[in-house]
Symmetry: C2
Subunit: 358 residues, 2 copies
């Protein structure tokens, strides 16, 4: 059996409670006693039992992170950042995969993940129509991503509209006028605030601001965002005979597929067609040509999300503070696929996009 406080107490000739006080850095422990206890701890190799601590204190020191699938690079990198941010605060992370299963996602909201003090949740199947589910959540929760806005829950996300707009403005600044989009979702009452539609909105805003005519035929549907379909969408675009000199792909995975399709068709990137993606996943700069992308500020998202969750955990579920919405600063990363020099866009005032989310 493992070493307990009791064992340490015997060796240090104090009570178990004093050991507890030393371990928890309580004041009012005599320095000599503290030293003696610490020596005993080291000697015996004592390690606190987290289950017992959790039972007694109601905290496990573990938070949950729920994503659709870790094998999607975006979520893997998000998890990487979340785990790092949690580790800074001495928290462990249980990662759950919901596999895009709506039932699982609903179940998760009603019960949370076992063994955890709180949950970071990036849903894929829930939409703003499920907002009511959030009202009944009785554990600390911070939502990630763009499916549910305006709920009663803390929410960390990215500047979809403005970042997309900046990406398209970058393409326009290269002189491109016929800019296609890959990854549009059909307009849908309940999903109008999904990431696709927000980014499409940024695209349209950029066109409008530049006085470029909006050609709906250049908005190519890929729904849901299966990366394999990016190439197919680009092939259809090419087959359609429509003229275009740039592609804005709404995720990097779609963009990589588009690069393939363009290559097959003999279109040179970026000379014939400039391409930019969204997410800035790690392999994008290894693509051939390397892929320009919008970096959504993953580290900041993770840091803020963990910070908010910790606050909620520490305040307890009782106090109902108002929900907060945070959007991370983004960067437009210019690489070979839209040849140019690196440009960094400052964070926009949150108001602009915030207005969308009511």
């Amino acid at each position: 059996m493992a070493v307990t406080m009791r064992d340490v107490a015997i060796v240090a000739r104090v009570s178990p409670k004093t050991v507890s006080n030393v371990v928890n850095d309580h004041p009012n422990v005599h320095p000599d006693t503290r030293a003696r206890v610490q020596r005993a701890i080291a000697e015996l190799g004592y390690r606190p039992n987290h289950s017992a601590r959790g039972l007694r204190s109601g905290r496990t020191g573990v938070i949950g992170l729920a994503v659709p699938e870790l094998k999607q690079a975006y979520f893997a990198e998000l998890a990487d950042a979340v785990i790092a941010a949690a580790a800074k605060r001495g928290l462990s992370v249980i990662v759950g995969q919901l596999g895009g299963d709506r039932e699982h996602e609903i179940e998760l909201l009603t019960h949370g993940l076992p063994q955890t003090d709180g949950l970071l949740f990036s849903p894929e199947q829930l939409g703003s129509e499920d907002r009511d589910l959030l009202a009944d959540v009785d554990f600390p929760l911070v939502m990630l991503g763009e499916w549910i806005f305006g709920g009663p829950t803390d929410h960390v996300t990215m500047h979809n509209v403005t970042a997309a707009r900046s990406a398209v403005e970058h393409l326009i600044s290269l002189g491109r006028r016929r800019i296609a989009v890959i990854g549009a979702h059909p307009e849908d009452e309940t999903r109008q605030l999904g990431p696709s539609n927000l980014r499409i909105q940024g695209y349209r805003e950029a066109l409008a601001a530049a006085g470029i005519e909006h050609d709906p035929r250049l908005e190519r549907v890929v729904a849901p965002w299966h990366p394999d379909d990016g190439a197919e969408a680009a092939r259809e675009l090419i087959r359609s005979g429509l003229e275009f000199d740039a592609v804005f792909a709404l995720t990097d995975a779609l963009a990589l597929g588009a690069l393939r399709a363009l290559g097959e068709a003999g279109r040179v990137v970026p000379d014939d067609v400039a391409v930019i993606g969204f997410d800035n996943i790690a392999i994008s700069h290894l693509a051939n040509p390397s892929l320009s992308s919008v970096d959504p500020g993953r580290a900041e998202i993770a840091e803020m999300a963990v910070g908010m969750l910790v606050e909620r955990i520490e305040w307890g579920t009782g106090s109902s503070r108002p929900a907060r919405l945070h959007k991370a600063a983004f960067d437009v990363i210019v690489r070979e696929s839209s040849g140019g020099t690196t440009v960094t866009a400052p964070t926009e005032p949150a108001d602009a996009a915030q207005a969308l989310n009511g």
Copy 2:
């Protein structure tokens, strides 16, 4: 406060212990009683307290997975598979990132991850010289990867030698004779069993078997395997003026870099140079051209590793059963970069590679 067994017991008019028996599916509970208790559980929304259960039973129902970095696609996909395999068995997974820090890795082996029943560990900095560390481990542990062989611990890995050999044999079958390797590590007494050297060995075996002269200058060093360096290694290879008609990159990330460099230099893949990687990460088939690769059998690795760990957990640390070594079946996935049709290699008899690991 949450609903406890006590609360359920009162509503169901039984003792708390009977509730426990129902929850744990004990035999010898009267069907009527069981039904009554289950109704009370549903009515009150009772959920077991995992901390208390863990305290009482010594099990947490959580296993740990420690990898260098989740943002490396290989580890993300491994984690994906491990989490899925664990979920099948009702286990949660805490994912830890050691960031390639040797001190962290050693610390992990001495204490394990808190809150977990056992650990799956894929080290990066430990080598066979650290084998002794494993002897003192007092928690269920299954090692993953290729750094430590012959330790006293269960170990799940891939057929590095044979799989690499098959990859090179594939290149040879295309008529290639000047086959370069990207990702060799300097020969090093303590690290001779690292994945690099094992794969290099497979490469040399394939050449030897085909009667092709081995040119050491075609073995290009990239150590450690930073993906960005793959392109640079390929550029150096090109600059060297050495003739070559194929590249075997020891990871897909290196291969993607090589595709870039070859493209820059105007070498057409696969016509001028055939390329194959190793790991079969998800984005490889989106590369341009799509990347041939060796699929190391991630799902099988995860499944076996979790299975072994569960066995160790259930047997308890007391019983010292002999350590097992399992190598997953691999596939050679042929895509455009080495144009051809898909080939599946059967699992080799374990002996061949096993002999290396003594």
